[in-house]
């Protein structure tokens, strides 16, 4: 029977990067809207063509206003202002005049709209970096109006009145800034790896996600799917029985996890503080709920995304203080602005074309070119920490050598910050960690970038997922070198990459000498439970076995064989 496909065809497989199950109808993020061909002419009825063009612009404006009202309802005033400004652009009288004039010359409506926007695009782009973000806004309106006129799907994250499974080729931070977390039950992407933006966002939100999933963008809009973010599967048209069984399995694991509470420690009482990765005050509640002992990575660039100008010193201070106040007895490790590569900031453009942005001016390299931005951020941090009982530690991203570490430590001291540290994510920094340890008070290993750079495998490329694996023995070697150098100097060395949230790898990292683990808040209970089931000696033996293995897969298998408690947790 043609409508009875084989069971295998009704299940797609990818990489599960955020555990849990979610079921709902698919909403696909459409690809780019095509450019209407140059020279496209209308049939001769200029009046009707003009009316169609203006109606499309008006519909786009009305839609933007409706979204602005919804943003305002949830207290997102920045979003409201951006969307209202976009609505004004769609209704711009100068733009309407230009469209009408082109249609009067015989140009088809869609092409006329495209060209009229082009004129303003050049005007704004030529007005300097300050307007860079507005050019993107303008392109978005143009694409929406052209999509209406051509009858093709709207670009960007779709609107929906019911919770849905978001399917996309890949997601950029700009796409997800407008997401309503309550409406997304799962993410599925064609590209991306375990450390892509989608994966990190999903774990922070506690929403299941499957990435690098071939065929997912061909699922018809509205099709019901069941996503298992641990197994990495997407079942198409699941039965109610299958959805129930998947949810029961998740609930059973949750029951085990509820019994794991208190500070992180191995079975024999070796303390390993368990900390949360946060992007701002909005993530604090989940961190506290999952028992975080503090914050191990505060990604401050998330305060700056989608901003034409940096937040004021007072606004920054407020955002830092809110997180410090949540952990009066704990520590909060703040990472200074990590811009560049996959997280460009409108007010900190790269100095020139970068064919390979992951190797370009990002992290501390970029901040050294903008000492005013660095000084303002450090000053705001120092003021936020004054009077707080939390211990503030501040670290720089993308540090390569001891000279850079010394520069950052001095910048911190100048700002009145007592505990400067550095991220270890460049292999050169890991290999010469003993030199860096003399300059700063602590290390935090960023396993995502360390893996990307050690294996020369771009985090954005789904096809290289097998090389973006922190179980690669070379990555484990680099972690061991950095942790040993820190121990020799009497300095703590944490891990704040996604590796720390993998229960098996967390045990191995502790065995390698890592002194604290920071992760997306939903990963904390499982890691706490895994550590509590193994002694420090077991962790060390698992770490030795993993380093003796010749491949990532063998490292994983040989470590797991020495960590019997994982099976009790259903891992």
């Amino acid at each position: 029977m043609p409508d009875q496909e084989a069971p295998a065809a009704r299940m797609l497989r990818g990489a599960g990067v955020s555990p849990g199950v979610g079921a709902g109808p698919v909403r696909v993020v459409a690809g780019a809207v095509p450019e209407p061909p140059a020279g496209a002419r209308h049939g001769g009825d200029a009046e009707a063509e003009r009316a169609a063009a203006l109606a499309a612009l008006e519909a786009v404006a009305a839609d933007l206003e409706a979204r602005a009202a919804r943003a305002a309802d949830v207290g997102n005033t920045d979003g409201r202002d951006v969307l209202n400004a976009q609505a004004l652009m769609a209704r711009d009288p100068g733009l309407a005049d230009a469209v009408a004039a082109k249609i009067g010359d015989g140009t088809a409506a869609a092409r006329a709209v495209f060209e009229a926007f082009g004129t303003y695009r050049e005007l704004l782009a030529g007005a300097g970096e300050y307007l860079a973000a507005r050019v993107a806004d303008l392109d978005d309106i143009r694409d929406r109006a052209v999509a209406r006129l051509l009858g093709v799907p709207m670009p960007g994250v779709p609107e929906s009145d019911e919770p849905f499974v978001l399917v996309a080729r890949d997601l950029a931070p700009a796409d997800t800034a407008v997401l309503d977390p309550a409406m997304v039950v799962a993410f599925v992407t064609l590209e991306g790896g375990p450390t892509s933006h989608t994966a990190i966002l999903a774990r922070t939100m506690g929403v299941p996600a499957v990435v690098a999933c071939p065929g997912c963008t061909e699922i018809a809009e509205g099709t019901r799917v069941l996503v298992d973010g641990a197994a990495g599967t997407v079942r198409i048209d699941p039965s109610d029985e299958q959805v129930r069984a998947a949810r029961d399995a998740v609930a059973a694991r949750a029951a085990i996890l509820e019994s794991a509470t208190g500070p992180g420690a191995t079975k024999d009482g070796h303390a390993v503080p368990l900390l949360a990765n946060v992007g701002g005050p909005q993530d604090v509640a989940a961190a506290v709920a999952n028992g975080a002992e503090g914050v191990g990575l505060y990604r401050t660039e998330f305060l700056f995304l989608d901003r034409a100008a940096p937040p004021s010193a007072a606004e920054q201070e407020d955002a830092y203080r809110k997180v410090l106040e949540a952990f009066p007895k704990g520590k909060v490790v703040v990472r200074t602005l990590d811009a560049g590569a996959d997280k460009p900031l409108a007010f900190l453009p790269p100095p020139g074309e970068e064919p390979n942005p992951a190797l370009g001016e990002r992290g501390l390299r970029m901040l050294r070119g903008h000492p005013d931005v660095l000084a303002e951020q450090l000053g705001a941090l120092a003021r936020a920490a004054a009077g707080s009982t939390a211990r503030l530690e501040v670290m720089a991203p993308m540090v390569t050598d001891a000279e850079e570490a010394a520069f950052f430590a001095q910048a911190c001291r100048d700002a009145g910050i007592d505990h400067p540290g550095v991220m270890i994510e460049v292999p050169a920094a890991a290999l010469r960690a003993r030199d860096l340890a003399a300059e700063v008070e602590f290390f935090s290993i960023g396993t995502n970038d360390l893996t990307q750079y050690a294996c020369a495998a771009d985090r954005q490329l789904g096809g290289l997922a097998h090389l973006q694996d922190p179980w690669q023995p070379a990555v484990l070697d680099l972690v061991a070198v950095a942790a040993q150098a820190a121990a020799d100097a009497g300095r703590p060395c944490g891990v704040c990459g996604e590796a720390g949230g993998d229960p098996a790898l967390a045990c191995v990292l502790v065995g390698l000498g890592v002194t604290s683990l920071s992760m997306g808040a939903p990963s904390l209970p499982l890691v706490r439970a895994a550590l509590a089931r193994h002694t420090l000696d077991q962790c060390r033996r698992a770490a030795d076995a993993a380093r003796r293995a010749r491949t990532a897969q063998l490292a994983r298998e040989s470590a797991r064989a020495l960590l019997p408690g994982l099976a009790e947790l259903g891992l």
């Binding site: 209202n84 400004a85 004004l88 711009d92 733009l95 005007l123 007005a127 307007l131 034409a308």
Partner: protein
């Protein structure tokens, strides 16, 4: 023809929220309203794209002009807006 020279006190300049409010006020007039940098080409103050394209920043001066019944009152409102460091509403 009524005319004002106004120094922009809005911290973000004639961009973002101040620009949107400026255009919304101007659009309420049934006569022409223009804004220009001193000595520069005047642009339609009802066009957000033209106003943003001016790229008038904090501390810079702009010339706003209007002609018609109620022009003075309108210019009062626009001037008051530009004088606010962080305007909240129109």
């Amino acid at each position: 023809m009524s005319q004002r020279n106004v120094k922009i006190e809005a911290k973000v300049g004639l961009h973002a929220r101040p620009a949107a409010l400026f255009v919304q006020i101007a659009a309420k007039a049934d006569f022409d309203v223009t804004v220009a940098k001193p000595g520069g080409e005047p642009v339609n103050a009802k066009s957000i794209l033209a106003v943003l394209g001016l790229d008038a920043r904090h501390g810079e001066e702009v010339v706003i002009r209007a002609e018609g019944e109620g022009a003075e009152e309108l210019l009062d409102k626009l001037e008051a807006l530009l004088k606010q460091p962080e305007p909240e509403s129109a």
